[in-house]
């Protein structure tokens, strides 16, 4: 059974408004790393809020471990399993001390204090913030705050982490730290990740990329499959990493270069090899 299963999902915020999601079908397996991209208004954030029942479908259904988000009695179990991190780090931290912030979730689960303490420590270590346990969150950088927000979710021991543009407001260093943390969670703890982003370089980390446009999934595939269609991606107003676009344009111009090169050295070596054969 997939961890998350979405079938024919339709949603609009108001009866008299347009549909935001128009028939979305999506499965996410345990341990999978899925990236969702799409320009503003494509419906990706609305879809994210569907995954843990912050929103429930008007039509179709969202199942988490086989349980529908539309049924009240499932909601707490679903929210414990699917943790969410949002864009603005300042809106997500609740306590004055880092470790209290992380303990907030587990405390609400009614766990014993020894268990809570252990979970807080584990979570801090995973996100690499153990040195900051006694700090005040507001004195941390944006990237550090996002890692604390992630730690707070981790302490709930979820099966899946949903991140809605967690790096949009961060500088390159903060972005890299957050993405390293997310990758470790996925690879080392086997946690499923659904990551929504505008940064295509982050999408390269995914097992599978979903491209959304006007409330529908319009492209789906591995990074290789998606990025070898540069003109198609541009049609949906998305960015393509410079390197990928360069490789694509060179292959269009007749060079024997594969457009799914994601690494500068790879492209340089390929070009040198081609040149040596002339």
């Amino acid at each position: 059974m997939p961890l998350i299963e979405i079938a024919d999902l339709c949603y609009r915020y108001n009866q008299d408004q347009d549909w935001i999601l128009k028939g979305v079908d999506l499965k996410v397996d345990s341990g999978e790393f899925v990236v969702i991209v799409g320009h503003n208004g494509s419906g990706k954030s609305t879809l994210a809020k569907m995954l843990n029942g912050l929103l429930v479908p008007d039509e179709g259904e969202v199942l988490v471990n086989g349980k529908a988000t539309s049924r009240e009695e499932n909601i707490w179990e679903i929210r414990r399993q699917i943790g969410m991190v949002f864009q603005n780090p300042d809106n997500q931290l609740v306590a004055n001390i880092v470790e209290e912030d992380i303990a907030f979730g587990p405390e609400n689960l009614g766990l014993e204090s020894a268990v809570i303490k252990k979970r807080v420590e584990e979570a801090l270590e995973v996100v690499g913030m153990d040195k900051f346990r006694r700090n005040a969150p507001h004195n941390l950088s944006g990237g550090q705050k996002q890692r604390i927000a992630i730690a707070g979710i981790l302490a709930m021991h979820p099966k899946c982490l949903v991140l809605d543009e967690p790096t949009a407001m961060l500088d390159p260093v903060g972005r890299k730290d957050v993405m390293t943390t997310v990758q470790e969670l996925n690879q080392e703890l086997g946690m499923a990740v659904v990551h929504i982003t505008h940064f295509m370089t982050e999408a390269l980390l995914a097992d599978r990329i979903i491209v959304m446009d006007q409330g529908k999934i319009v492209l789906e595939g591995t990074p290789q499959e998606i990025f070898s269609q540069v003109d198609e991606i541009k049609k949906y107003h998305l960015d393509v990493p410079q390197l990928t676009e360069l490789a694509f344009r060179l292959s269009q111009a007749g060079l024997d270069v594969s457009p799914d090169i994601f690494n500068v050295d790879e492209l340089v070596e390929k070009l040198c090899y081609l040149k040596s054969k002339i």
Partner: protein, 282 residues
């Protein structure tokens, strides 16, 4: 010379930390009409520097001379802020009026302009950011999309008709389409009016393509000052200070290092493609 910064240093809290300077002995000049990129990793002093340029921060020592006037000495900060317009990061957080018109008109009204002049300025500013005056003037800024809010906030600064426009990461947090549109609007504005622009950005490929000249800050010091070509030749140094070079520059430089005759001062994909094809076809 429009703007000259001489021996500028700033310490936010001289009493508690005598050595902790956010800016240290910065010197540079900017000519009228230049498009200057300002880069540096977080905490390098970029935002502090631009805040000193429009008088929001009074530097600990040094001079900032704009139009022959040292703004660190002047009492008339209102005039300084009119001359040097600063668009903050996430400027839409500072929208506050009930209508788009009122928000953009707020600054010009305080300059004591007539109603007609104010209206003309709002119209001009909205035109630059591609928002239709009639459609948007009476709408609440809070009911606009993120990209539209960002545009209204930028228009509010443009309506002051500054001589220098400083943009602190004007496209942060926007989706690619909106980002490209806003960048195109800025480029268009600069080409039409030769406005002097200082752009802070974390996107190296954006700065490389747009700026005539790039200033690089590291730990409060100005460590590089040159054209895109000059600055991005220093790949190793830039990486040491937490910055990078655009991916296509990296490709071209690595090709060059392998004994290929190839230009490395290229910042668009189309030109890079042509250059590589030229190399491959001997």
């Amino acid at each position: 010379m429009l703007l000259e910064v001489k021996n500028l240093s700033h310490n936010y809290d001289l009493e508690s930390s005598v050595t902790d300077y956010s800016l240290q002995d910065i010197n540079f000049m900017i000519e009228r009409g230049q498009f200057v990129g300002l880069i540096g990793h977080t905490g390098s002093g970029k935002s502090t520097l631009v805040q000193t340029l429009n008088g929001l921060i009074k530097p600990t020592t040094g001079q900032i001379i704009i139009d022959d006037q040292d703004i660190t000495k002047t009492k008339n900060l209102k005039e300084v802020r009119q001359k040097v317009g600063l668009v903050f990061q996430y400027p839409e957080h500072q929208l506050f009026e009930e209508t788009v018109f009122a928000d953009i008109a707020f600054g010009p009204k305080n300059l004591g302009l007539t109603e007609q002049e104010v209206e003309q300025r709002v119209k001009n500013a909205l035109e630059v950011v591609n928002l239709d005056y009639e459609t948007f003037k009476d709408r609440s800024p809070f009911k606009l999309s993120g990209g539209q809010q960002r545009r209204v906030a930028i228009a509010g600064v443009l309506a002051m008709e500054p001589e220098v426009l400083i943009l602190d990461e004007p496209t942060a947090g926007l989706d690619p389409k909106t980002r490209q549109e806003i960048i195109a609007e800025i480029v268009n504005l600069q080409q039409k009016t030769s406005l002097t622009i200082i752009l802070i950005s974390h996107r190296m490929e954006e700065v490389a393509r747009l700026a005539d000249r790039i200033l690089v800050l590291d730990e409060g010091k100005l460590v590089l000052d040159g054209t895109s070509a000059e600055v991005f030749q220093q790949q190793e140094f830039l990486q040491e200070i937490g910055l990078g070079v655009p991916q296509i520059t990296e490709v071209l430089m690595k090709l060059k290092n392998k004994d290929n005759m190839i230009a490395t001062d290229i910042f668009t994909i189309e030109e890079a493609k042509q250059e590589i094809l030229k190399l491959m076809r001997g």
